[in-house]
Amino acid sequence: MAKKRSEVADIDRSLYDFTYGEEGFERLDAGLTPDIVREISERKEEPAWMLDFRLKSLEIYLKKSGPTWGPDISGLDMDNIVTYVKPNTDQRSDWESVPDDIKDTFERLGIPEAERSYLAGVGAQYDSELVYHNMQDTAAKMGIVYSGIEEALHEPKWEALIRERFMTLIPPTDHKFAALHGAVWSGGSFVYVPAGTKLDFPLQSYFRLNAKGAGQFEHTLIIVEDDADLHFIEGCSAPKYNVANLHAGAVELFVGRRAHLRYSTIENWSKNMYNLNTKRARVEEAGEIEWISGSFGSHVGYLYPMSILAGRRAKSSFTGITFAGAGQNLDTGCKVVLAAPETTATVETKGISKGGGIQTFRSSIVATPEATGSAATVSCSSLMLDADSRSDTIPAMDIRAKNVDIGHEATIGRIGDDKIFYLMSRGISEEEARTMIVNGFASPVSKELPLEYAVEMNNLIKLEMEGAVG
């Protein structure tokens, strides 16, 4: 006999689905041409090398074909995407001078409050430009630099460093949307943590894409020098429209010897977003990168943070959760390259699909011949909340090194009736029981987040779970 299932109700996303007009904003024409690329560069008064870089990237973009192995992106028509939208303000360092509608947006998202409570610095980007950037004096006195990347590009001291590192981990030749990013990138953060410096409180960048039919292409470049330590948090959201929006940002992280970087992200894009983001870290000897990643929004998502363990005893850990609901196809996971002796990597992911949503875990572990004595473990679990949803697991391993130890485990299934029965027999409603179980399932991720973000993640799960009794 078929099991009885109830309907899955629409969820209330009003916390994120609000918009303001674009009065006074500057929009370039939709589409992608050399003239548009030149105009972006000109507006930013960039050095000539950056304009050359953009134009070469555009050539690569036009030659490269899109991915054929993942979710369909034919609904993304670049001729209809506006690559640059400048809000009606310049970058500010105090919230009071930010225009009211933009300030209200970030206040509703809780950013100024978070800054006051526990952050050492905040950057807030609205559409294509940073509108707010500030860092506490204590962090500045430690020699830490946290600024807009474009601002840093105009400082002779940092321009050389940015030129040396910019899009070297993610070259425009990497894939079509890396090339697109290289051509039209705008906004984003630059962080430099000097050797031996440990920042006790996190820095955060928040990206809000408000404009309908627009793209956001921020570039984050973080350099954590030898023996330094940083926790960086990235948040993203957008209101929902019925046309495609595009996010093709890039994150490049350089982790020095014995340095440690934790990079936490809660991506909560609206469900009309094509999120084609690229993140990559290079870790030197005995350094460590920790990725904490939550993917909740987007119509289509392609997101695979990559760790290149280039130095002996370098480490990486990836902890991620993806929640795909109705209309969503989220293809997420990670890549690890063990490229030096005695490197280690751990991957733990959770995937949840519901209401006809599709989530795919995709990974690669590559051990080069230099990775003697290295080890990696991958563990992924997927939870199906109904029979209309889909959950795929596609992990790949390419091992060419001596004395390596690679382990992989994956499971897919649904919430056991016995668990629901147990909780219901103790007076808990079925919906509440399911939410509790899903929260427990997600706890390896939420426990790695700062408390406020863990609460946000659990709220997102609760939103997604409303009406999910079946």
């Binding site: 029979a387 091992i399 130890d405 897919i412």
Partner: protein, 430 residues
């Protein structure tokens, strides 16, 4: 469609061989493979022999259409199970074109996911039937073999059959076999793929299996060819209600060995167990593609691969458990253990679970490594060097194959190969 291309020198290039149903990043070079077959190979049908055991001779059938007829008949029974609708299917796209739905409410399916929905909603059993190596390789193999040998086991009967392919240099020797195991029958089929000589040759098998309700089919394939040979072993298996198919692949020889298997668990409580054992040495290539598609309710699959790679050998193992919509109560499990006995080896593994049904369980695991330091220490205390310890694992793989060989001829072939890897191997196990 046969996309096989011959180049100017008369060589044959097969593309898209052993393609994973749901591909991953192209740069990993795991999604499929290309097979170059040298020019000048002459088909050698005489190199293939079919040897029914005493009392099993009458299973060799003259009914060339028996397999296709069985598949069509099954298709009629299962037509009513087609899925009515799925998120992102053709109906959704018609509604999209008519502007009746918000495009952002329709999931953007990948190519594989679109194909899976077509299998669930539109394709008949015979249209969905496939082999593991794909249509191009299967068509090539069938074009080399003579008329397929049809083995038709009557309802309730039991049979044992041995198929031998004995390749020689300069020839292409392929066994084309159709198996129809009728209701509640049982069949033990052994396929011995062997080839000797130092000049190029090709050996292979192209097999279609229909396991009717309640039947038991056991297929044991042992491949022991010399390095000059290419081995292509392709199979497609349909498993009906309550049928159980066991497959054992032992791949020890051939310079390049390609193994493909696709199974359609269409009937309720259908089951397949695939056990793979392989050894790679020198410059050998081992390429596997297993696809198990669960469509029936309470179906079960297991894939267990165990291998040793030595020298500069290369291996790709693609294993896909596909839990399709409607296969409630099904379970799929996949496990691989690989021992890397040399730093020059290249080992690629991609164990995939595709899941379009919630009331299922899928799991897979892989363990890839060298002999552990504590194991080496233990063996070192007993006078074995690390090299000798690793040789011991290779020897164990060969010994296992020799001891479990289905007959003396296969055993002799295993020992012959063993001598090329471990001199004195024959005396060791004598």
């Amino acid at each position: 469609m046969d996309r096989t291309s011959g180049n100017a020198s008369g060589a044959v290039a097969l593309t898209g061989v052993n393609a994973m149903p749901a591909p991953t990043w192209s740069w990993l070079k795991m999604n499929d493979t290309a097979v170059e077959i040298p020019a000048g190979l002459t088909p050698a049908p005489a190199a293939v022999s079919v040897e029914p055991a005493p009392g099993s001779a009458d299973v060799v059938s003259a009914n060339a259409d028996a397999f296709d007829d069985a598949l069509v008949a099954a298709g009629k029974r299962f037509a009513s199970r087609a899925r009515a609708s799925a998120p992102g299917d053709a109906r959704d796209h018609v509604a999209l074109a008519a502007g009746e739905v918000d495009p952002m409410d329709v999931p953007a399916l990948s190519r594989y996911q679109q194909g899976a929905v077509r299998v669930e909603e539109e394709l008949s059993v015979e249209e969905a039937f496939e082999t593991g190596m794909g249509a191009e390789a299967y068509g090539y193999l069938r074009s080399i073999g003579e008329r397929p040998c049809v083995l038709e086991v009557p309802s309730g009967a039991s049979a044992q059959v041995r198929v031998r392919v004995s390749g020689t240099p300069g020839t292409a020797s392929v066994a084309s076999v159709d198996v129809i195991a009728r209701r509640d029958s049982s069949l033990e089929l052994t396929v011995a793929l062997n080839g000797t000589g130092s000049e190029p040759g090709l050996i292979g098998a192209a097999m279609r299996v229909f396991a009717a309700a309640g039947s038991r089919v056991s297929i044991t394939t042992v491949q022991t060819a010399d390095d000059a040979f290419i081995s292509l072993d392709d199979a497609g298996i349909f498993v009906d209600e309550g049928a159980h198919v066991e497959v054992s692949h032992t791949v020890l020889g051939a310079g390049r060995s390609y193994t493909g298997l696709a199974a359609d668990l269409r009937g309720d409580a259908a089951r397949i167990d695939v056990d793979t054992s392989y050894l790679g040495a020198r410059e050998q290539v081992r390429d596997f593609n297993y696809q198990i598609r669960h469509l029936g309710r309470r179906t079960t699959s297991s894939m267990d691969a165990n291998g040793v790679l030595a020298g500069a050998s290369k291996k790709v193992l693609r294993g896909t458990i596909d839990l399709m919509h409607g296969c409630t109560g099904s379970e799929g499990a996949e496990r691989e253990t690989v021992l890397l006995a040399d730093e020059r080896v290249d080992n690629k593994t991609v164990p995939v679970i595709l899941c379009d049904e919630d009331d299922v369980a899928g799991n897979h695991g892989a363990t890839i490594g060298h002999v552990r330091p504590e194991q080496l220490f233990y063996l070192g205390c007993r006078g074995l060097s690390p090299e000798a310890a690793e040789a011991l694992f290779i020897s164990a793989k060969l010994e296992d194959a020799a001891l479990n060989a289905p007959d003396d001829e296969v055993r002799a072939n295993v020992i012959r190969l063993g001598e090329t890897v471990i001199p004195g191997f024959g005396e060791e196990i004598a």
